[in-house]
């Protein structure tokens, strides 16, 4: 259970998040929507301990993640798979290396890594691009590499920040279906998106944000909150 409890985040005088409270149950699929600048990425950064909240707290199973000692943060992060809005792939490493990278960091043996990487690339449909570099891939393929890297850990919790941005509707749907499948296999998913069509068609919980505030939170929500 992930709980945001009256979380406020200031960047200087700018309030990126303003008194945000909600909770996510295990295995839930939650969509975070809102216009650009609403605070979606900020919320994710707080969840990853990249930034600290100015006020309020975020707890996972009743433990305040921002009270974690610095040296435990890496282990905490290894439990969360993240598809970053800007992908954060390494340009001078191949697709397979980019995905393997996340596992190497956690000290898994090489043969296990190779096996898992191939399995996950097959799942996202990029098996034959394993030895290509990111610059040789299309936008959708890059996004799928980012998803593969987030999934290779078999995380209990997957965060996807705008994973369908800049994609044609068909590819966007493919990726959404992949996320739904992962969720049905038992992973909690938090999806931040602008994609109205997807939000309106998958009938999942939607948290609407605007100007750093949660304006609506519904079990089967829509893109528009008015």
């Amino acid at each position: 259970m992930i709980v945001f409890d009256k979380v406020t985040k200031h960047y200087g005088s700018h309030k990126a998040l303003d008194d945000v409270s909600f909770s996510i149950r295990p295995r839930e699929f939650v969509i975070l929507v809102g216009p650009s600048g609403a605070g979606k990425t900020t919320l994710i950064k707080l969840l990853l301990c990249e930034e600290k909240p100015t006020f309020g707290r975020i707890t996972i199973d009743d433990k305040d993640i921002h009270l974690l000692k610095d040296r435990y943060i890496p282990y905490y992060r290894r439990q969360i798979g993240v598809v970053f809005q800007d992908f954060k792939l390494l340009p001078n490493q191949t697709v397979a290396e980019n995905v393997a990278f996340a596992m190497e960091v956690s000290g898994k043996p090489d043969n296990e890594i190779t096996k898992e990487v191939m399995k996950i690339l097959e799942l996202v449909g990029l098996k034959d691009k394993a030895s290509n570099f990111p610059r040789e891939l299309s936008g959708g393929e890059i996004q799928r590499v980012a998803i593969a890297r987030a999934l290779v850990f078999q995380p209990k919790f997957l965060i996807a920040d705008e994973p369908t941005g800049n994609l044609d509707p068909v590819t966007a749907w493919d990726i959404t279906k992949l996320l739904l499948k992962i969720n049905s296999l038992g992973t909690t998913v938090l999806l931040a998106t602008h994609n109205r069509e997807i939000v309106d068609n998958i009938n999942k919980r939607v948290i609407n944000m605007d100007k750093g505030r949660v304006v609506r939170d519904r079990r089967r929500g829509k893109y528009d909150y008015k």
């Binding site: 990853l48 990249e50 610095d70 040296r71 890496p74 282990y75 905490y76 992060r77 290894r78 993240v82 970053f84 954060k88 792939l89 390494l90 990278f101 996340a102 190497e104 960091v105 956690s106 000290g107 898994k108 043996p109 090489d110 890297r149």
Partner: protein, 303 residues
Amino acid sequence: MLIFWQRIFRSATSGFRRNGWLSLVAVFIMTQALLLISIFASLNLVIGASITAINERIDVALFFKETVTQSEAMTLKTQAEQIEGVTQVTYVSSQDALDKFLADHRNRGAILDVVSRDENFLPASLEIKVTDPYLIEGIVGQIIRGDGGKLISQTSLEDNQKLIEKLRNFGGFVQRSSLILALVLIIIALLIIFNTIRITIFTRREEIEIMKLVGATDWYIRWPFIIEGMLYGVIATILSLVLLYVGYLALVKPMVDSYLISAASSPVFTLGFFIFLAALQLVVALVVGGVSSYWATRKHLHV
């Protein structure tokens, strides 16, 4: 655990290659510092050994005044032979001394030209051998206080003291200057390695940020940089050891063999000393490399 270190080593060596000439400069400066430290250590050893060798001489020469006749000298010789601890007394006439000098310097034409046989400047002397180097001073004192006082102008004992004094002064000077220079070079090496690592961190900041976000521990990120710094040290140590050995074979060994301390009872540059030098260099190099890169990660790797 093994995998952890393999990955870290792979990452460290790639950093070394990526930095190209800057890596080379770091290694070069470090090598110089190590060479100086070695020279300092060797000099210490040579001077120490020389002083010991001089002190351990079991013979002493008493030089006669020019006016002393041979019969006076022979009387003194007989007296000296009676003294406890003396094993052998040899009379060396002025002519014998010159012959020996010329024989010793046979292959130096220039000296032979200068030294004319007519103006023999070498005094006659008594060469006394004793059973124990520590008896020498007492024996010489006894001779001088007796009849010898009027006949002897100088003893090799005084020469030895002067030589030891000179050696100490020279050694002290060389030690001080090489130590200071080595210290300066070590500081320069520290700064260069610090800077090299800083640049590596800068060129890899994106990778580092991503590593952190996917859960790399601080030390997983930091070790490659520290190992890279230590790698500079290891390479510098190898280089400096090779240079030292070549220098030793080409310059020091012939010199030691012919003049300096041929009187020493045991060889000065033993294998043990080389191993000590290698270990000393390696320790200094690893500490300098490790400390400067650790310092760079502390300052620039905001983990």
